[in-house]
């Protein structure tokens, strides 16, 4: 009964998963409670500190400390749980004494038995300045988020433009980039090298093979666009849970640069890794734009988006263009995954959680226009971060999605879209 099972999928993934689990998962009636109290340096309770928890079987919970500083959540499966604190939600003047240990591990051997209390030690931290400084920092965060979204959104938009497919599995390309980078990183490669290999895999499997083996045959069969949309939903669900099956449900950090200290530029605080990640992201988007505008293939892809039949008649190899667009889209999305992994860690759900924001960005910019997707992404990114000045952080995505609906009411073709596309 108290069999302690070590879960690992095939020998080579041994290093990846270290989830402990207990024999019977069916005794769901009993629960254990994992709890803790957030206290400041003087022992005063701290309310409104945000924490997140992950555990076996894809368990996740978002928590906020109550007025007396306490927080807790119930679990019904024994195993290894992780509680992560969001240090930016600590009150002004308070900081963690171990700023690189944001995640604490709790192992629950048996449901029903008491669990150890989770403690985060705090000390005096920098006084945080009011509104305008927060706003400046949020603007920077918004730009980073906007670039991340636009990396994925450009690919989604290009694929939609050339094939008409609304790809609900595009988020899984982000996860593929993040998780394979983590995989090779854990195998012993430096994260930069791991990311390069991961992007090659994204191009080969996520882009080239996905198009050749799944979508091209469907186009050949003459499968309708709505049917393909439903196929992409099924495919996304399948891939997402294959990721969970192999990699487990925990949020993981890359081995290098995990707890990096931030640089202070005036009102902005930025970690070097975020700066490097952002620069490469901007560069990739710049290169994609140049490719679309200047190169022969890029122009051809716009021609295919405009009118596939006419493009084919004027000698453009439509299938080749579509394949190249898939590869490009997969690499860009994969890099978005690497960037998210650097800043927030990787998890099987990271891509599908971002998917709705990507759709919001693409719709905002106008479906099928790559440049619109970039503009839309930056607006969504900035809006999400800056809205936390007014609304609670946990509802920031709600605000972005609500704006999407309002935009559709007012200007359904999006900011840069053409009217005839929407009818």
């Amino acid at each position: 009964m108290r069999k302690l099972a070590r879960a690992c999928v095939a020998g080579l993934l041994l290093a990846l998963t270290s989830t402990f689990s207990i024999g019977s998962a069916q005794a769901a009636e009993e629960v254990s409670v994992i709890s803790g109290v957030m206290q400041g340096p003087m022992g005063e309770p701290m309310a409104g500190v945000e924490l997140s928890a992950t555990g076996p079987d894809g368990f996740t919970a978002d928590l906020t400390s109550a007025v007396d500083g306490s927080w807790s959540f119930e679990i019904s499966i024994a195993g290894e749980y992780f509680v992560t604190i969001d240090p930016t939600t600590l009150p002004s003047g308070v900081a963690l004494t171990e700023p690189d240990k944001l995640t604490k591990q709790v192992i629950v051997f048996m449901i029903g038995s008491p669990t150890p209390t989770v403690k985060f030690l705090t000390g005096d931290g920098p006084e945080r300045d009011p509104m305008w400084q927060t706003a400046m920092q949020l603007t920077l965060d918004g730009i980073i988020l906007g670039i991340t979204i636009s990396l994925a959104a450009v690919g989604l938009s290009l694929i939609f433009g050339t094939t008409g497919l609304t790809n609900f599995a595009h988020g899984e390309l982000i996860t593929l980039g993040g998780l394979t980078t983590f995989f090779f990183n854990k195998m012993g490669l430096h994260v930069v090298l791991a990311a390069i290999i991961s992007l090659a895999i994204c191009a080969l499997i996520g882009g080239y093979a996905q198009d050749k083996l799944l979508w091209k045959p469907l186009r050949r069969r003459g499968t309708g666009l709505i049917a393909m949309l439903v196929v992409s939903i099924g495919f996304g669900l399948l891939v997402r849970y294959v990721f969970l099956y192999i990699f487990g449900g925990d949020k993981e950090q890359f081995l290098q640069y995990a707890g990096q200290a931030g640089w202070q530029f005036g009102p902005f605080s930025l970690t070097p890794k975020a700066l490097v990640g952002l620069s490469i992201g901007v560069l990739l988007i710049g290169l994609t734009t140049a490719w679309l505008l200047k190169s022969k293939l890029g122009k051809a892809s716009r021609a295919v988006a405009d009118n596939p039949a006419l493009a084919a008649a004027s000698g453009i190899d439509v299938e080749r263009v579509i394949n190249v667009v898939w590869i490009l889209g997969a690499v860009l999305a994969g890099y978005a995954g690497v960037m998210m992994g650097l800043n927030q860690g990787v998890q099987f759900i990271m891509g599908s959680d971002t998917l709705l924001l990507i759709f919001a960005a693409v719709t905002l910019g106008g479906l099928g226009t790559a440049f619109g997707a970039i503009v839309g992404s930056m607006i969504v990114g900035l809006f999400i971060q800056l809205s936390t000045l007014i609304i609670p952080t946990e509802l920031k995505y709600v605000g972005a999605l609500a704006v999407l609906i309002i935009i559709l009411l007012v200007r359904p073709q999006g900011i840069m879209g053409r009217k005839e596309r929407i009818g």
Binding site: S21, A227, L237, V398, P412
Partner: protein, 331 residues
């Protein structure tokens, strides 16, 4: 391996509350997707609105459960109008994006800490909010068959649930034979042609969205009452995708499609899951290949794969008619 237990679990799922909830959700989707061609990916939102309206009104405001049901229907109508007004004039995939986004908004608002005192945060609301409903339970004893056991209250829920399914199936049957139904199906086939006949396509689509949404709210009622609790994460997009799998499995645009789909879907799902669980327990499947936690994840992979294969090879489902359903959005 305990085959009796496995069959018992599978059958009680296939004729029990799970099948009822998904049959109702899929009947609503059938109205949207099967007959009208509307891509509603926010059916979970309609269920959530129905379930939460009942739970919140009864537990927090002490309203009679019957009035709460009426309020739930009203809330579903409002949600349908809210979704339809901005999107029904646009191309099909806009509705898909907006509905999936709205369902997520509803879930995230329901689980937010900010509104915890109303919606109970991520724990949801638990309470005896079905008391009025169970008070009129006519069954003094439960059911005790070899493969099927119910407590009196469960039996009451199941009987009422299947009653609702029958009513809505019959309703769909009548509607689709009426002139209204012919217009609806014509809209799915060729919107422009219907418009050229002087019909107000927008209005018809809106009516379809409202009707299907209300059926979805009933699925939410059954969900809430049967468990005597509502939890936000039960109403995630996965629920919508499961309902689509049910609908397409049984056959979209078929009156009985959702019901047949729900029964087969839940029987297969639970049967495969319990068999795998049994095999893992007696170590027929080695631990490095699959452990107890991973068995639960196989369910989602199967649904995903099933949805793909059905849509590619048999989009009309088991009983559907391929001619009935010409799915294509790009005009």
């Amino acid at each position: 391996m305990d085959w009796t237990f496995i069959f018992q679990q599978s059958i009680s799922s296939a004729v029990g509350v799970n099948a009822i909830i998904f049959a109702l959700a899929a009947i609503g989707l059938n109205m949207h997707f099967g007959y009208t061609g509307l891509l509603n990916f926010g059916q979970a939102g309609f269920l959530a609105v129905g379930a939460y309206t009942v739970a919140v009104l009864v537990v927090n405001f002490d309203v009679s459960v019957w009035i709460a049901f009426l309020a739930g229907i009203f809330a579903a109508i409002l949600l349908a109008l809210l979704l339809g007004v901005p999107t029904l004039r646009l191309r099909a995939d806009y509705l898909a994006i907006v509905t999936i986004a709205t369902a997520e908004i509803i879930r995230q608002v329901a689980r937010s800490v900010t509104l915890r005192e109303y919606f109970g945060g991520s724990d949801g609301i638990t309470g005896k909010f079905g008391a009025d409903f169970f008070a009129i339970n006519p069954f003094p004893a439960g059911l005790d068959l070899p493969l099927l056991r119910y407590t009196p209250n469960d039996l009451w829920v199941v009987v009422v649930g299947w009653g609702l399914v029958v009513i809505f199936v019959f309703f769909t049957y009548l509607m689709m034979r009426s002139p209204w139904g012919r217009v609806i199906k014509a809209i799915r086939e060729d919107e422009e042609a219907v418009r050229s006949l002087g019909k107000n396509v927008y209005l018809y689509k809106m009516q379809s969205l409202v009707l299907g949404g209300v059926v979805g709210a009933f699925a939410g009622f059954v969900y809430a009452i049967s468990r005597q609790s509502v939890q936000p994460d039960n109403y995630s997009t996965a629920l919508t995708f499961f309902a689509y799998a049910v609908l397409i499995l049984g056959g979209a645009a078929r009156v009985l499609g959702p019901v047949v789909g729900a029964v087969i879907f839940w029987f297969l799902l639970v049967f495969i899951e319990q068999t795998l669980r049994g095999l893992v327990n007696i170590d027929k499947i080695p631990d490095w290949l699959m452990n107890q936690n991973q068995v639960g994840q196989v369910r989602f992979m199967l649904v995903g794969l099933g949805l793909m294969l059905l849509m590619i090879y048999r989009p009309q489902g088991i009983f559907g008619d391929k001619k009935e359903l010409a799915l294509d959005a790009r005009a």
